[in-house]
């Protein structure tokens, strides 16, 4: 029994880690989408967190409890700096600007070779992200978003999502909310990036590009953004599906794609379409 469980955990360890980490990334996406904004900078912030965390651990040997908050703060700082100019943009223009951030950072990682290892990336990162930590943080974040969603802030967020101008006229401080959401989203993505780096043992510059940005967006699109739990469900489904379908061998990716297409067609509001109930 014990041996069986041990083998099971060994087989799915990486997957179980990835589920939790992708859950955090989905929440980071939810954070901006709940305001009706389309930012694709999550992958870039995740990369910043991953590189910050990995470098602090590898080069300075800082303890993990210190590394983790710093790798959330660095992306938050960057979000604060770029937030001013980029948040004047909206819709697809904001998306393009945030994609550019990812590209700029990618080129930076490749060329700052002495620090980041260039194209070869950083390897040998110690595995410090325990399952308890990953899922503890995820639970904490879901609970936090749930509480915020039911509060005055949540109501303002939903108002912005439905009609930004009307919300502004009603007295919602639009720039403050937007910047706040971007910073919180960057912190979450940075945290997830650092956890991923400390569970994968290897990171490279090409992991945080456009493709990852779209993957993170698809978590929220598939799951829905009515409640904080919805994007997490989306992340779990999208991450687990390729592994669950592994026995199908050659047809794996076909079925994987088919399920996603069907879900998008028939569940346009996401797999979890419910909305948060408000406190009276």
């Amino acid at each position: 029994m014990a041996e069986w469980l041990d083998d099971f955990l060994f087989t799915y360890e990486t997957l179980i880690h990835a589920l939790g980490i992708h859950g955090l990334l989905a929440l980071s996406m939810y954070c901006v989408m709940a305001l009706g904004q389309l930012s694709l900078g999550q992958a870039a912030f995740m990369g910043l967190g991953a590189y910050t965390g990995a470098l602090l651990t590898l080069k300075l040997g800082l303890p993990f409890w210190l590394v983790l908050p710093i790798s959330a703060l660095v992306p938050a700082l960057v979000a604060l700096i770029i937030g001013g100019p980029t948040l004047r943009l909206s819709g697809v223009y904001l998306a393009i600007a945030t994609i550019a951030l990812g590209e700029v950072l990618r080129v930076l990682y490749i060329n700052a070779e002495s620090l980041t290892g260039g194209a070869l990336g950083l390897s040998g990162i110690p595995q410090k992200a325990s399952l308890g930590l990953v899922y503890g943080l995820l639970a904490l974040c879901i609970a936090g978003f749930w509480a915020i969603g039911r509060s005055k802030i949540g109501r303002a967020m939903e108002a912005m999502r439905e009609d930004e101008m009307a919300a502004g006229v009603m007295g919602v401080n639009l720039p403050l909310y937007k910047l706040g959401a971007l910073v919180a989203s960057a912190m979450l993505a940075g945290l997830a990036g650092s956890l991923a780096a400390h569970s994968n043992s290897f990171i490279g510059p090409n992991e945080y590009g456009f493709e990852t940005a779209v993957t993170i967006l698809s978590f929220a699109l598939l799951g829905g953004i009515g409640t904080p739990i919805a994007p997490v469900v989306g992340a779990v489904v999208l991450t687990a599906l390729p592994e669950v379908l592994r026995p199908l061998a050659d047809f794996r990716l076909v079925i994987n794609g088919l399920i996603i297409v069907l879900a998008v067609l028939f569940l346009p509001r996401g797999i979890v379409p419910f909305r948060l109930r408000r406190a009276p």
Binding site: T11, L15, L120, F202
Partner: protein, 375 residues
């Protein structure tokens, strides 16, 4: 159920019906290769090479006194996370003593620490980057690292064509190209070649005129390029368009060793030199038989990845047989003592679990859109 389904799929060609009672009589080996996505050509070639060797091994009576060898090939889609998941499944669920693969060096860097920790022998057949086998005592590779092949190519260029001054170009955004360039630079310095300039570009770039115009003004004897085949083809084509004369030879790394280069670049690639651990027209009895059998089974020519995989399967099967049991630790010991003559030539491992001999390396020259052994 899942397991027997997979096993059946993998060895369908061998027409072995796997039933639980029969499974006792087989030794299962795992493989992780790219079978889907843009790089699927590599993984499919490797799988073909492995299965051809598997047929021969089982037809000759298998291993360990009559046990058949079964192969489970898992798809990684070229993604390192999926490669790790596949490795964990092979180790945790299928309990294989040996894993062949994964295909890419990046994937190997992610899989290596996991399999090494579980003491499962892992043999790369196509991973050429620096530092692969340094990951741990259970990580082997049968592919010659770029650091062994490139010096042979450069030396040939120096001796045969009097190359003295070179310009170096490489793609700086992927591990394979960067690592290949590092080996090239070290080899050029060791041979005393004068490096006129080093120019970098991105793997997905399509315009190399800035770098090439600079190189044109430097009057070099040859230009080395380390990148995947698509950007190399672009570099070669644009160099000729910009008027760099055909007397300036291109020297490619492992990425240039692909028939696709001739197809894309055509005339422009004439005279390009590349080192290869294996070549389809290499004349010896073992290679002739391999090429003939491969053509018969798959109706196409094998490439170097299939050849390396073919040798690896034989090496692994031999190691299992001499180990006397399908146990990872014993196989590791016998694998270290490997002495095999395959399609790539005589093969032994160094103490660092890399291939020991570069005897099999041949330098190829591009002629009329096809590679030929340099005479």
């Amino acid at each position: 159920m899942f397991r027997s389904f997979l096993v059946t799929g993998a060895v369908a060609v061998a027409a072995v019906a796997v039933t639980p009672a029969f499974a006792q009589q087989t030794v299962t080996v795992g493989a992780i290769e790219i079978l889907s996505g843009p790089s699927a050509a590599y993984g499919t070639a490797i799988k073909a090479g492995l299965e051809l060797a598997l047929d021969e091994i089982n037809a000759a009576g298998g291993v360990l006194g009559g046990k058949k060898v079964a192969l489970i090939v898992e798809d990684s889609a070229g993604n390192k996370d999926q490669a790790v998941n596949a490795a964990r499944k092979l180790v945790g669920r299928d309990k294989v003593p040996v894993i062949i693969g994964p295909t890419l060096s990046n994937e190997m860097f992610a899989v290596g620490p996991v399999t090494n920790e579980r003491k499962v022998v892992t043999v790369g057949t196509s991973t050429t980057a620096v530092g692969i086998t340094a990951m741990g005592p259970y990580i082997f590779r049968t592919s010659l690292p770029e650091a062994d092949v490139v010096p042979v190519t450069l030396k040939t260029a120096q001796e045969k064509f009097g190359v003295k001054t070179i310009a170096m170009m490489y793609a700086n955004d992927d591990a394979f190209s960067k690592s290949g360039f590092d080996s090239m630079k070290a080899a050029a310095e060791k041979l005393g070649l004068k490096i006129a300039t080093i120019e970098a570009f991105g793997s997905k770039d399509s315009d190399f005129s800035a770098q090439l115009t600079k190189i044109k003004g430097l009057n070099v004897d040859a230009i080395t390029v380390s990148a995947l085949v698509e950007p190399i083809s672009g570099v070669v084509l644009q160099a000729r368009q910009l008027g760099i004369p055909a007397s300036v030879r291109f020297i490619g790394g492992n990425g240039a060793n692909s028939p696709k280069l001739g197809e894309i670049a055509g005339e422009a690639a004439e005279g390009l030199l590349v080192g290869s651990p294996w070549f389809v027209d290499k004349k010896d009895a073992i290679n002739d038989k391999f090429v003939a059998d491969f053509r018969k089974k798959y109706s196409k020519d094998p490439d170097q990845f299939a050849a390396q995989a073919y040798d690896t399967m034989h090496i692994v099967a031999k190691a299992i047989d001499t180990a006397g049991a399908a146990e990872s630790d014993k196989i590791r010991e016998t694998l270290l003592k490997t002495n095999h003559t395959g399609v790539m030539g005589p093969f032994t491992f160094t103490e660092g679990r890399d291939p020991a001999s570069t005897e099999g390396v041949v330098v190829l020259g591009m002629k009329g859109g096809k590679f030929q052994i340099l005479q």
